[in-house]
Symmetry: C2
Subunit: 309 residues, 2 copies
Amino acid sequence: MKITALAGGVGASKLLDGVSRILPPEDLTVIVNTGDDIEMFGLYISPDIDIVTYTLAGLVNPATGWGLTSDTFHCLDLLLRYNESERWFNLGDRDLATHIYRTQQLRAGKPLSAVAEQVCKTLGVATQILPMTDTHTPTTILTDEGPLHFQEYLVRRGAEPKITGIRFENIAQAQPAPGVAEAILEADAVLLCPSNPLISIGPILAVPGMRQLLQETAAKIIAVSPIVGGASLKGPSDRMLAQLGMEVSATQVAKLYADFLDVFILDQQDSREQPAIKQLDLQVVLANTVMRDLESKMALAQTVLTALA
Amino acid sequence: MKITALAGGVGASKLLDGVSRILPPEDLTVIVNTGDDIEMFGLYISPDIDIVTYTLAGLVNPATGWGLTSDTFHCLDLLLRYNESERWFNLGDRDLATHIYRTQQLRAGKPLSAVAEQVCKTLGVATQILPMTDTHTPTTILTDEGPLHFQEYLVRRGAEPKITGIRFENIAQAQPAPGVAEAILEADAVLLCPSNPLISIGPILAVPGMRQLLQETAAKIIAVSPIVGGASLKGPSDRMLAQLGMEVSATQVAKLYADFLDVFILDQQDSREQPAIKQLDLQVVLANTVMRDLESKMALAQTVLTALA
């Protein structure tokens, strides 16, 4: 069974860690949000691609879910002496190698997708990891304090400013990266990972043509709820939904995907939402979606695969 | 006494280390060769500026004379997995911070001289360190195997290919960096450090207008021989001189500077060259020019200062 996953960062990579331990790597393709991409210290950082790649390489820092395990911060120490104002963004020494390499390749004219492929090859990741697009489409969070790059909103400002809107810059000029359309059309199943629906899955769906691909594909499409018990397990999904006037519920997430979705995996503690989601003409599967360890990651992955079989 | 030094890398920085321990830092200005500058991994590396800066900051790796002391190489380890072909150039984690910062600033439109100043400020170096020019003028070594960037010739190829010529790229378009002309014209003395006359001091002298400044200045100009006992103490000066059909001698070096030089510091073991150098209308001072430790660095620095007094 060939599965194509749509993924953000840490939440997605936990589930994909589980899936990749069950499925042969060549049967999994991951389309990753690049709305979080940002230039720091003149280096092009692609946080979600790196989180997914490092995770599938078995190299991710387990304490944070991002960065490389046992990394050191010697370069950053001096970088911050040169540029104190960037003290909000952590980059380890080995992690920096990925950013330096990516920046060099992009400046030499290589597309982001080719760089992602080369990073996978170097780190021994056989799963195909595709950026959603090769166009730089940074996510801008419109707030009551003015527009902020998503990373500034999330990391520097701790998701404190009140959101009034979200803008995906340059998105009208973007198209799916090479391989993305095929990965969706030729998959047996498409998995929307439990990522922020607004700023992780949202940017992927906003790439022109992407929703149509999901509507057209014969693949069964399944989503895992990132909202459990009325809150996001990680990150600001809950407050973003609320501030944008939406309900903070799994049902609300299902609504955002309803035009192409087949199956929705709902956390057991939200079982009372089952009827509302079924009304969206979706199949609902109840499961424990909270992934605290490898066992729970693999159990949720198995639930996904069983629902798709 | 205000001294302006013309400097290459390791040999120069040893003497400057001695000088800077005697002279107040604001009385020393260093004009540094940038012909060695090279882009590696997409980062702009300025080896001689860094060697001089790190040395005067007291941070240079004493074992090599370049790089930062106690630096680690975690980033490079992964960078080389991404790009195996660059395995000839060593960059430590903290050292990389300087290159990342410089590259970012240059790409943002800052001139090299402004970046050098900011690096000095951050590392607590009160001595003014100026690149010879803000124009990128890489030194090409013409060899029987074709043209090579100087760093490729020296580091990657171990100075093996036979030299047929030297070319300073873009040098006709270059001009002395801001502050260079004033530093030469307003100095009480100019010191040519014991650096390779062809590819360390040579590029500085090749910047249009530089020789005229040295001829015009009222400063006393002194050079320390980089050739001792018919060989270079470090680096390929000797074989380069020989392959270009020149004599491998202190006298030959003196000849290259004779049009503006006043005093030549000759190593004691080359005392038989004294008459030949005096014939160039130069004052000759005999000294031990081999700097093996702090004591010999300071002794040579004191000899220079005494000769200039």
